[in-house]
């Protein structure tokens, strides 16, 4: 009866009624954790709300109890799925409760839904000054799963602050930093000014250099997606944020445009560095490989020298347009047109010619200067 009622409220999208009944909905939780159907109905109801910490504060002590080592896995999972809506850490600001949460998370099977709740909760905990320091370093690796976060996500909104991002930077792990940015950048949320400035600084300081191309590519693709969504108008965004107006959208466009600009800036610097090195090699390299003006021959194997990740079958041709290095590709289009040495840039490192006369090893400055042609 209660489950059906909750489903009805959610389907009617009657937010006022859901909010006015949050105490009763929350009181249902201790019963719902034991059964799949009621738990689904409960989660649908709480997730449909935009209210931060939707669950009643009287339920908070129950969550750490459910996360306890001796709890059944299904109870731990229920507690984790409800966590983003409960702010249970406010009721027990102790390191032990955060550790219980981490231990429970590692004990239950990972699903995208679980990942979403874990990351949302982690980001909310990180934004809370009183418990932030209790987060074990290993918990940050959850970000690298990069689960899809829902349009209304308090963890994402709160964690885009400068304080939280500074912690991410101090971890010194570019993979985690990239994952964090991919998770908190969203068309659904505006970034706080100081957080935006810190992110821009991080792009310029942490994401420069040739070896960062893959991270920049991921971030640029994500920013292009966000800006595309923001360009598509109000209707899409008003599904979950009825109060949003053109002014809000323009501010978000400016913010994400700023970040995109910073990424392109460091990408361009990396491209120019590569270009300078590549052009210097032209004389040595061009005579050895027959070059089609519009295609780069890839009848070569690319060895495993980091960060090379492209391998090709002998004889196949890869159009320049498919190179995985967007700003370098653009740069070549704009300034050099098709240059055969794009193939080097795609590979960045050492090439073994299969049908060639020998092995060409290309050392870019970051790996140490020198060119060997056998």
């Amino acid at each position: 009866m209660i489950s059906k009622k909750l489903e009805t409220l959610v389907e009617a999208a009657n937010m006022n009624q859901i909010h006015s009944k949050y105490k009763a909905i929350t009181a249902f939780f201790p019963y719902a954790v034991w059964q799949h159907g009621p738990l689904r109905a409960f989660l649908r109801a709480v997730r449909s709300s935009k209210q931060h910490g939707f669950m009643w504060n009287h339920i908070r002590p129950l969550i750490p109890m459910l996360l306890n080592e001796e709890s059944h896995l299904s109870l731990k999972q229920a507690a984790i799925l409800a966590s983003p809506h409960s702010q249970w850490w406010k009721a027990s600001t102790s390191e032990h409760s955060i550790q219980l949460f981490a231990a429970a998370a590692s004990a239950i099977p990972y699903t995208d839904e679980v990942g979403m709740s874990l990351v949302d909760t982690l980001l909310q905990v990180a934004s809370d000054d009183s418990v932030r320091s209790f987060i074990p370093v290993g918990m940050w690796s959850w970000l690298n799963k990069r689960p899809s976060l829902p349009p209304v996500c308090w963890g994402r909104r709160l964690a885009s602050s400068r304080d939280v991002f500074q912690i991410i930077r101090t971890l010194g792990d570019i993979e985690t930093l990239t994952s964090f940015l991919l998770l908190v950048w969203s068309e659904w949320d505006e970034l706080p000014f100081e957080g935006l400035e810190e992110m821009r600084a991080s792009i310029l300081e942490d994401l420069g250099g040739i070896e960062m191309w893959r991270h920049r590519e991921d971030l640029l693709r994500h920013l292009n997606h966000i800006l595309g969504r923001l360009d598509s108008g109000l209707e899409h965004l008003r599904q979950h944020d009825p109060d949003i107006d053109e002014g809000d959208i323009q501010r978000r466009k400016d913010q994400y445009g700023t970040l995109r600009g910073a990424l392109l800036e460091v990408d361009m610097e990396a491209a120019e560095m590569l270009l300078r090195e590549a052009l210097r090699l032209t004389i040595l390299f061009c005579p050895l490989i027959p070059i089609d003006r519009h295609k780069v021959p890839l009848d070569v194997y690319v060895c495993n020298s980091s960060p090379v990740s492209v391998a090709a079958c002998p004889g196949c041709l890869l159009p320049v347009d498919q190179l995985r290095y967007p700003s370098i590709r653009d740069s070549f289009h704009d300034r050099v047109t098709y240059h055969p040495l794009v193939s080097f840039i795609a590979g960045i490192a050492r090439f073994d010619l299969v049908h060639g006369v020998g092995v060409i090893t290309l050392h870019l400055p970051i790996y140490g200067p020198g060119i060997d042609v056998l």
Binding site: M1, I2, K5, L6, L9, K21, K23, A24, I25, T26, A27, F28, F29, P30, Y31, W56, H58, I59, L62, M65
Partner: protein, 243 residues
């Protein structure tokens, strides 16, 4: 066999349909209340009171002690067990269990009193003449029960804070109280919000490790009423669990 046990056995044998029982409800109720007090006064049985209240609650339905007409009897008994000093309510020495049983009985009886009835008006007048609206019940053995009674009888107390943190009665009493609360909530006006303290009771009860089935039912009933569900009425028979 002590007189109280003999009375229990007699009533169980006679049953609710007995005309003698029907005519003598007030006397029986008074007897039970008095008997409870007498037992408590006997130190040797003080630790053993729980099985007796269990028997008492088992007999509750049998002899219809929840009859609204008995509410005044229970109220008078309760008021006789307590002192009131500048708003602070305390039990008279040795009357702790008596006040506890009387308050449970009173609440149960109130659940059956019509909201607009002269009986309820009379009970309210008697109650507020002794208990001030800002009464402090902290420390009473019947803290939770009397707080609920206070909310029911004194207007403007709907948002009164009742702490359930320490509420952990014997299963039998939990069953009885939960069912009584569900009945009190059910009597509320249609469309009216269920008071916060009642939802907190439901949360607290459902959070227990393996609460009795009927407590779960009553907790969910309280929640369902607040959500606007059409909750069918269920009786009290079969709600008691073995201690």
């Amino acid at each position: 066999m002590d007189p109280v046990s003999e009375m229990y056995l007699l009533l169980e044998r006679i049953g609710r349909d007995s005309s003698a029982v029907q005519r003598s409800r007030v006397s029986i109720a008074t007897f039970f209340l008095q008997a409870t007090r007498i037992e408590i006064l006997n130190e040797s049985q003080q630790l053993d009171w729980q099985p007796d209240i269990t028997r008492f609650l088992r007999l509750w339905d049998l002899i219809e002690l929840a009859n609204p007409m008995l509410a005044v009897t229970y109220l008078d008994a309760f008021l006789g067990y307590v002192n009131v000093d500048r708003g602070r309510v305390t039990e008279r020495p040795g009357s702790e269990q008596g006040a506890r049983v009387a308050s449970l009985c009173l609440l149960r009886a109130l659940a059956g009193v019509d909201s607009g009835s002269a009986t309820l008006k009379d009970i309210r007048e008697r109650y507020v003449a002794v208990i001030p609206s800002d009464a402090n019940f902290e420390g009473l053995l019947c803290y939770h029960v009397i707080n609920v009674i206070h909310v029911v009888l004194v207007s403007g107390q709907e948002k009164r804070t009742i702490s359930w943190r320490d509420y952990g009665p014997h299963a039998q009493e939990h069953v009885f109280f939960a069912n009584t609360l569900a009945q009190v909530i059910r009597k509320g006006k249609q469309g009216e919000k269920v008071p916060r303290w009642a939802l907190r009771f439901a949360t607290h009860s459902l959070s227990h490790n393996l609460p009795p089935t009927s407590v779960v039912t009553d907790g969910l009933t309280i929640i369902a009423i607040d959500l606007g569900c059409d909750v069918p009425h269920s009786g009290t028979s079969g709600r008691y669990v073995d201690p």
